[in-house]
Assembly symmetry: C2
Homo-oligomer: 242 residues x 2
């Protein structure tokens, strides 16, 4: 059996963002990313700072840990990263979770297509806007969307763009316009990922959220968007593993 690089397994908690916001879920965080976004809130998955915490686990071992933590108290698992789409054989884990009657969500930036994308119940594709310093490969993104459309899986997918500034918003509009049939989410960027004072963080993020709502509301190209904050950050601040 294939082994996967795992950094964190935690839960049950709720999904704080995106297409299944609020959903009760467990989290499996894989290590490794092909990007290095300037504002990455999971930089420890790829910058080497947590490399001693990476464990190589089989799907069975991951399930054992999920079950030890969550018992019968979950029916949804979110695989996040890093970029879990770097893992070619992840279908071993996805299939095992489905056998256990557990639904599977994944978030990826859309730089890689994996055949198992058509098995994901809630697939969030999150192309990175200019403020990240990364450049989206739209040929690849087209390929992913085409693959999902061909498999009749667009209903299980969504696009999400994190927005920090006006340039990001322009990028978001362009992405939404390019793939109008896919549910589209705007998310407030957290530009205070190192702020330890929760009160300050919350008030700042709610102000930024209000700004993003105001901007989205004034844009005809975003009539069909959903504008969301990160709920886990509002509730738990910048803590990891909740």
């Amino acid at each position: 059996m294939k082994k996967f690089p795992v950094l964190e397994i935690f839960g049950p908690t709720i999904q704080g963002e995106g297409m299944v916001i609020g959903q009760k879920t467990m989290f499996v965080r894989t290590a490794g990313c092909d990007y290095s976004c300037s504002w990455c809130d999971s930089a420890f998955t790829w910058d080497g700072s947590a490399k001693d915490d990476i464990r190589q686990l089989t799907a069975e071992e991951i399930w054992t840990e999920l079950f030890a933590l969550g018992g019968s108290h979950f029916s949804h698992v979110t695989i996040s990263g890093g970029n879990p789409a770097l893992l070619g054989n992840l279908n071993e884990l996805i299939d095992l979770l489905h056998e256990k009657n557990v639904k599977v969500a994944i978030e990826t930036q859309g730089s890689r297509l994996q055949p198992w994308f058509d098995q994901i119940d809630d697939l969030t594709i999150s192309p990175k806007p200019p403020s990240s310093g990364m450049k989206t490969d739209f040929t690849k993104l087209d390929e992913i969307i085409l693959y999902l459309r061909g498999k009749n899986r667009l209903y299980h997918a969504s696009l999400k763009v994190v927005v920090f500034d006006e340039q990001d918003l322009e990028f978001a509009k362009m992405v939404h316009l390019k793939y109008p049939e896919i549910p589209f989410y705007l998310q407030v960027g957290n530009d205070l990922v190192h702020e330890p004072d929760d009160g300050k963080l919350i008030s700042h993020l709610l102000t930024r959220y209000e700004w993003l709502i105001d901007r989205a509301v004034s844009e005809e190209g975003l009539n069909n968007a959903r504008v969301l904050p990160q709920l886990h950050t509002l509730v738990w601040g910048n803590k990891r593993g909740v």
Copy 2:
């Protein structure tokens, strides 16, 4: 043409709660409710305090106002109350909005079935828990769910229960168990609807939200629930018309 009792028309803004949380939308608030929940945050729709503000408007007149406010900047309208399901001919408005390529969401507590329920794009049915002082008529609720199932519209519907305390949570579990095929949402009750200090309100509501997450997470019967706050209250406090 039929006239409808309208109390507020506002937007564009976002939907702050429930199945399409974050969705850019306009709001039409109708007057009148057959309930009188102890913690109703829209009591002015039925307690007489705003009766001089009620206007009798036709569907065309409502559309004219929506368009004057939102122009081309919306494609979604939420009809809330009060209880809009008291209005037998509301299909006149729903049909007109659909003609204009606008999607329609409605929230009702589930005390009345209207044939136009099968025309609603996002139908939230929100049975009231014990803390409201109201009693759910489950014969009626059964009838509504059966009607939607028969019309193959369950995909456009959701159940939402507002939770203030443990008894409410028990009620929520019972409702979810009774209708497991319908997407289920738990929402934090706002027990400070008259609090003018936004800072106090936000910190209190986030604490209550954390409590509700903790409770939902520990309940096997709520594995498939989605647990959400009211985003508009976090952003704008107890203000009306935003």
